[in-house]
Symmetry: C3
Subunit: 139 residues, 3 copies
């Protein structure tokens, strides 16, 4: 069994953004030399997500508006987590809807994807450097 | 390390349905000959889910009503994704709540399940042929 | 390839609770002797979750209030699942938001975590003994 590990770093200027990281994950897979196995790709921070969906800007606006409706940022005083001096309780909630991680099959050295699957980093509390872990195991 | 790959195909006549795919995944596991490892089972389409829950028809009606409340289909004009000519933005949102994939342990050649765990394909934008990927790695 | 399996048992006195199970999962990892691979940690019951987030009591109160808003327990008659004599339909819904499982990378014999990542058992229908599965594969 072979294993491979890489960190991807991001710094989003505003509070929220969705970034297509599929090319970076594909680069990791090529570097790993693994032909059959599994890729785990997860946010290493608890106010961010890694998820798979469509690279369509209208849909990304829909996600943002929908998450803001399900777990509004303001007023920050509505969340007990923010009593600690934070203002990011909503980001912890949004990340639960959008998920921490994806596991993707590797077949013949490629990400084994359907026609529209793309991997995204979802930032819900930006403004600082944060990481995604790519771990690949297989042969 | 052994690996196994299979696609399961579905065509749901209406817009939404939940289908118990546990027997098909068990068949894949038997075909693979793998006794210890992990099964990844994921929707290959971004308006569908694979998840684990209870095979109880009342609960399935509850899921449908609840998802429709969290991310209503109509009016389709409320979603920017639908400006592209699609009418399935809600399906992309519902799939995030219900998840893309499950990872299941394989122990002694069986899916290592608790008493009520069953694997479902969740279709939120039916009417055409769509796929689930079953990838198994182990020994 | 090595594999390791363990069950963790919980009995929550009330209906809902979040329990940090990171030390138990780390103990499993040490017992396994696995240095590179993947840990799967999943609820074996369909009204409970395993998820990764912050060990902060204010945030845990926020999760509880938020989940109760997204999928209220009462009135129990609002759910068709409860027509079967159950009163836990809301727990099946809450678990979908909070997820069944996490997959964590193992690197150099440790859980490969960002600074604040901790693994939680999320109970949404307590009062009886329930299990979490820890399955580790690797070398």
């Amino acid at each position: 069994m072979k294993s491979y590990r890489q960190e991807l770093w991001f710094q989003v200027p505003g509070r929220r953004a969705l970034i297509n990281i599929t090319p970076e994950v594909e680069k990791c897979l090529r570097e790993s030399g693994i032909k059959e196995g599994l890729v785990l790709c997860n946010a290493m921070h608890i106010t961010a997500s890694v998820f798979i969906n469509d690279d369509e800007s209208g849909l990304h606006r829909d996600y943002d508006a929908w998450l803001e409706r399900l777990a509004p940022h303001a007023p920050v005083s509505q969340y007990r987590h923010n009593d600690t001096g934070e203002d990011n309780a909503d980001a912890h909630l949004k990340r639960q809807v959008m998920d921490r991680e994806v596991v993707v099959a590797v077949t013949d050295g490629e990400l084994d994807f359907g026609p529209w699957e793309q991997i995204f980093y979802g930032e819900f509390d930006g403004g600082r450097r944060k990481r995604v872990l790519v771990k690949i195991i297989g042969e």
